[in-house]
């Protein structure tokens, strides 16, 4: 079943066309990689899908709902969560708080419940803490739950981002270079988590430069070049593809 449909999406910055009539689909319960040379438009594509940037043309649907140019919080509630290339976290808050903030329908967004500590608010908070604890155990950060996010290593921050994304209960997870800058020992840990997460009504799309890392992980790789998906296929096919080699691997 199709989860995400990107149809003829275009994004221009002045004269530069960053994403050019880009079209592709993502099925539910899939684990995909997105590769492409620097400037191919990968991160811009993520920014567009998650609403941080507007599109200049084309449509995006998730589960049949149009989301292009919607506000990011609504897109998130429609089921898309993302991580950032340079990890983003609420650095002066604890690991636990970072997760709680991502949880849907938190009382903090209500002008009344947000300032009152009513029993129902405390109950909701307790439930969210329970849920967040579960997610933190999953990404192996439970022991760090009361530490400030700024005290985490790069790899742990990547895990925190994944945890934060999971708190929003997504159908689609967009990960922007989850292995970049991560200590080599942590890479397989993150990869393993991603492997176990997929399925259970969750699709994952990973931007990654390291094609070897991706090949072991994903079922399919989408190759982006000049703002378009130029090809997609099984990792071994993509690696053999001559056009891909020329565009991305420098013809090696």
């Amino acid at each position: 079943m199709t989860l995400l449909t990107v149809d003829s999406v275009t994004k221009r910055y002045g004269g530069l066309v960053a994403v050019d009539e880009c079209s592709f689909e993502i099925g539910s319960d899939s684990l995909l990689g997105l590769i492409g040379p620097n400037g191919a438009g990968k991160t811009t594509l993520f920014n567009i899908i998650t609403g941080l940037e507007d599109v200049d043309g084309g449509t995006i649907e998730i589960g049949g709902t149009r989301i292009e140019n919607e506000r990011p919080s609504r897109i998130n509630r429609e089921g898309i969560a993302r991580s950032f290339q340079t990890t983003r976290e609420w650095s002066r808050m604890t690991v636990m708080e970072n997760l709680l903030l991502a949880s849907p329908d938190q009382p903090g967004e209500s002008p009344v419940l947000g300032v009152l500590n009513t029993p129902s608010v405390r109950e909701t908070e307790a439930e969210k803490i329970e849920e967040a604890s579960e997610v933190l155990r999953l990404v192996e950060l439970y022991e760090k739950r009361n530490e400030l996010a700024s005290s985490l290593s790069v790899g742990q921050r990547k895990l925190l981002e994944i945890g934060r994304c999971l708190m929003t209960d997504p159908d689609l997870l967009l990960l922007d270079e989850p292995f970049a800058g991560v200590a080599p020992a942590l890479v397989p840990v993150i990869a393993e988590h991603l492997g176990t997460l997929q399925g259970e009504d969750l699709s994952i799309l990973i931007i990654e430069h390291n094609i070897d890392e991706l090949s072991n992980l994903v079922e399919e790789i989408l190759v982006m070049n000049n703002g378009q998906i130029m090809t997609r296929g099984a990792p071994e096919d993509v690696r053999r593809d001559r056009e891909v080699q020329e565009a991305y691997l420098g013809g090696q």
């Binding site: 506000r71 919080s73 609420w90 002066r92 808050m93 903030l101 991502a102 903090g108 419940l113 300032v115």
Partner: protein, 291 residues
């Protein structure tokens, strides 16, 4: 040599004045933390707050505390309304554009205030009478009320940020707005709360200035430089920094009167700030993360 008792008196005056500056500065820096621009119309928000309270207090005959309480929600509504009309359409544009718009709003408000209430200075009707001596220092019931109110506001803001859910979300947004939006937080709604809180606090600061001094169309503008100083001194965007910065600047300003003509007050503040920033250009507290 200046008498030590006089210095002590000026320090007390400075703490009271500084507590008002601190409230105004916290409001300004709070809005900055979330919206990343300095609202030049902030001074006029304070002035408007004072005049609204004046209307309730003097024209409608409400006691000053009731006028204060009634004015704050009105200022919150005004502040949110001004955002909707003036600033929101420019959100996402160049920050300089919004900055210039806020300077324009400042002019418009100041002159509307002049048209409505005139240029003559007015004052609140208060039940307070003359001051009494505490040791060598003279305090008036007004100054005590001003100081306690300012401290109560600071306490409430602290409670809001550290103990409530809304405070947590506000901190998150001022720390990283894109991240908050991508995590499903309805940032625009929090922006509204922030303006409401900032507007109410600005109004409160204005009323306190009016209590301490007089009410006039330039009253807010006249303290804006001191408030800017407090905001930058505390590390821009940092609410607690603004609190400390406000108190320090208030004390500095009032104590300077013991040594130099009173018209040099703000000059002294900025000379000290200039020297300070040579050594600590980011302010007292790091400003990358707020509150």
């Amino acid at each position: 040599m200046v008498d030590a008792n006089i210095i002590l008196q000026f320090i007390v005056n400075g703490i009271v004045y500084g507590s008002i500056i601190a409230v105004g500065a916290m409001a300004l820096t709070l809005v900055f933390g979330v919206l990343e621009f300095i609202n030049f119309a902030h001074g006029e928000y304070m002035t408007l707050g004072a005049y609204l309270a004046f209307v309730f207090n003097v024209q409608f005959g409400l006691p000053i505390w009731a006028a204060f309480v009634v004015t704050l929600p009105l200022m919150a509504v005004f502040s949110v309304g001004a955002d909707r009309i003036v600033f929101k359409p420019m959100r996402g544009d160049n920050h300089v554009t919004i900055l210039i718009a806020s300077i324009g709003l400042s002019f418009v408000l100041r002159n509307v205030i002049r048209m409505v209430w005139g240029v003559r200075k007015v004052g609140f009707k208060t039940p307070f009478f003359s001051g009494y001596k505490v040791g060598p220092v003279t305090v008036t019931p007004e100054t005590i009320a001003i100081f306690l109110t300012a401290v109560a506001i600071m306490g409430l803001v602290h409670y809001l940020f550290t103990r409530t859910m809304i405070g947590r979300v506000m901190r998150a947004i001022s720390d990283n707005q894109d991240l908050a939006a991508a995590s499903g937080i309805h940032t625009e709604r929090i922006v509204i709360y922030t303006w409401a809180l900032g507007g109410a606090m600005a109004g409160a600061a204005g009323i306190l200035i009016g209590l301490q001094n007089v009410i006039g169309p330039m009253m807010g503008y006249n303290v804006l430089l001191a408030i800017f100083g407090a905001v930058v001194l505390g590390g821009i965007g940092n609410v607690y920094g603004a609190l400390v910065g406000g108190l320090l600047i208030g004390i500095l300003q009032k104590v300077s009167v013991a040594f130099l003509p009173s018209s040099y007050q703000i000059t002294i503040v900025f000379v000290v700030l200039a020297v300070f920033f040579v050594y600590k250009p980011d302010g007292l507290f790091r400003s990358t993360t707020t509150v």
